[in-house]
Symmetry: C2
Subunit: 269 residues, 2 copies
């Protein structure tokens, strides 16, 4: 099993991703695709007069403030625009793709975080009523049913809360959860940069490899800070959880998945 | 099997539809839901600065002009907003719903009509490059797989063309095709009126019954004209194709499906 997360930033070459994924699928490789959609959500939200707002958490992470209206825009872009674009491109390339959100068949279920801590003017405040959360359960039986019948699942947030509400959840975390669940050969994160960059956005500062057993070394610990912290620690956790390797790679090029699998990008193992 | 098409006009009580569908599903009734989304597509298209345009065909029917941008808005509303709203409401009511478009798993495949005839200022013209068409094939194996595993499918256009393009197709026709394929007990069309009205929009002119064997009688033939032609003839065809009865009923009320099944509305049999 190979799990591929296609990021939602500007510059992603969806045609190349679909072509590469379809060609692997036709060779019999079992694949799960997970995708984002943040840049297009921002655009649509602006156009609909409900501009995006973000919260900076005390730990430094940034997340989208998700009121009910934002959640609906999120669903329109992730489940409608981006998911169906990928499914259509995959069908064009001969792969029988099937797009699902976490709501469908209770595929991703998790805990809603109704109170979210954030930092404003140096003070920690609490935002209530947010529709965000973390996936804790996967309906693996549904994925197995579709995989065994020969389909290529294309998966997207939102997830379903334990109270049966749609919640905005992190696609990177979903991909890691799936890769761990399947003990995947590889978990590939595709985005609009060549991998993890020691000095973002300097692409010459690409980190080639992060050996998990040396993550406590000062050289590697320095990478697991700031904006890369969540990505690096998520990858380390996935490898510790049984995923053979995690690769952060470029989605702006031809054959992005095969390149990642051949080691182009940042390999965590 | 009962096939329910939920219209996309203003005033549909989605909560009531979901509650009723979930309660039937929990009793073990096999259900397929198909839905529309036209009114909300119009609103979103206006808000995004790409207002809806419609073509009047020589036969009198009206259809949405669907360029690629309109198709994307259509997908956002049908596959994103409306489909996920229904799936979420059904999950809240305890039914394990799963939402799919016609692209997913090649569920609905059909012929793209690239050249569409329309009437303007009394002249017949041809519009080219439209992404519309008619569904001719259903991936019944996929529906059976999901039904047998206990899921409640919630289905929506677009369909996939034979050239693997997404195409805007008529949800009423999809519902009739599904009902015929399954030899359904009932095909229920829910909208924002109590059924077929002899003198639209006068709700007192509700037609109680259309006996298919008497469709050629002047009394009934008169109903199969103008704006009701497609609906009436579609229902007649479905009944001739093996569907036990077709009911046009109200989606603004509580228990809309059970009411339709008990004969409230217009019954074609």
């Amino acid at each position: 099993m190979i799990v591929v997360k296609v990021g939602g930033a500007e510059g992603i070459n969806y045609e190349a991703v679909a072509k590469d994924a379809a060609s692997l699928w036709k060779e019999g490789v079992k694949l799960l695709l997970v995708h984002g959609g943040s840049a297009e959500t921002n655009k649509v939200a602006e156009a609909l007069g409900h501009p995006p707002r973000f919260l900076t958490h005390p730990g430094g992470q940034v997340s989208r403030l998700t009121d009910r209206k934002t959640l609906e825009i999120f669903e329109m872009v992730y489940c409608g625009l981006v998911n169906k674009r990928l499914v259509e491109l995959l069908q064009k390339e001969g792969a029988n793709a099937i797009g699902l959100s976490g709501l469908d068949g209770r595929l991703f279920v998790g805990r809603r975080k109704t109170a979210v801590k954030y930092v404003e003017n140096g003070k920690v405040k609490v935002h209530r009523g947010d529709y965000t959360g973390t996936v804790e359960e996967v309906n693996k039986a549904l994925l197995d049913l579709l995989l065994q019948a020969g389909y290529l699942p294309v998966l997207t947030p939102p997830a379903l809360s334990y109270e049966n509400e749609a919640i905005n959840t992190d696609g990177d975390q979903i991909a890691a959860l799936l890769a761990t669940l399947y003990g995947a050969e590889a978990l590939v994160y595709l985005s609009n940069v060549p991998g993890l960059l020691a000095r973002y956005p300097d692409e010459a500062s690409l980190v080639r490899e992060i050996p998990v057993e040396r993550i406590e070394d000062p050289e590697y610990l320095a990478l697991a800070q700031g904006r890369m912290k969540r990505k690096v620690m998520g990858a380390v956790e996935a490898v510790r959880g049984g995923v053979k390797r995690v690769v952060f790679a470029d989605a702006r090029v031809e054959n992005p998945i095969r390149r990642a699998l051949s080691g182009e990008g940042t390999v965590v193992r």
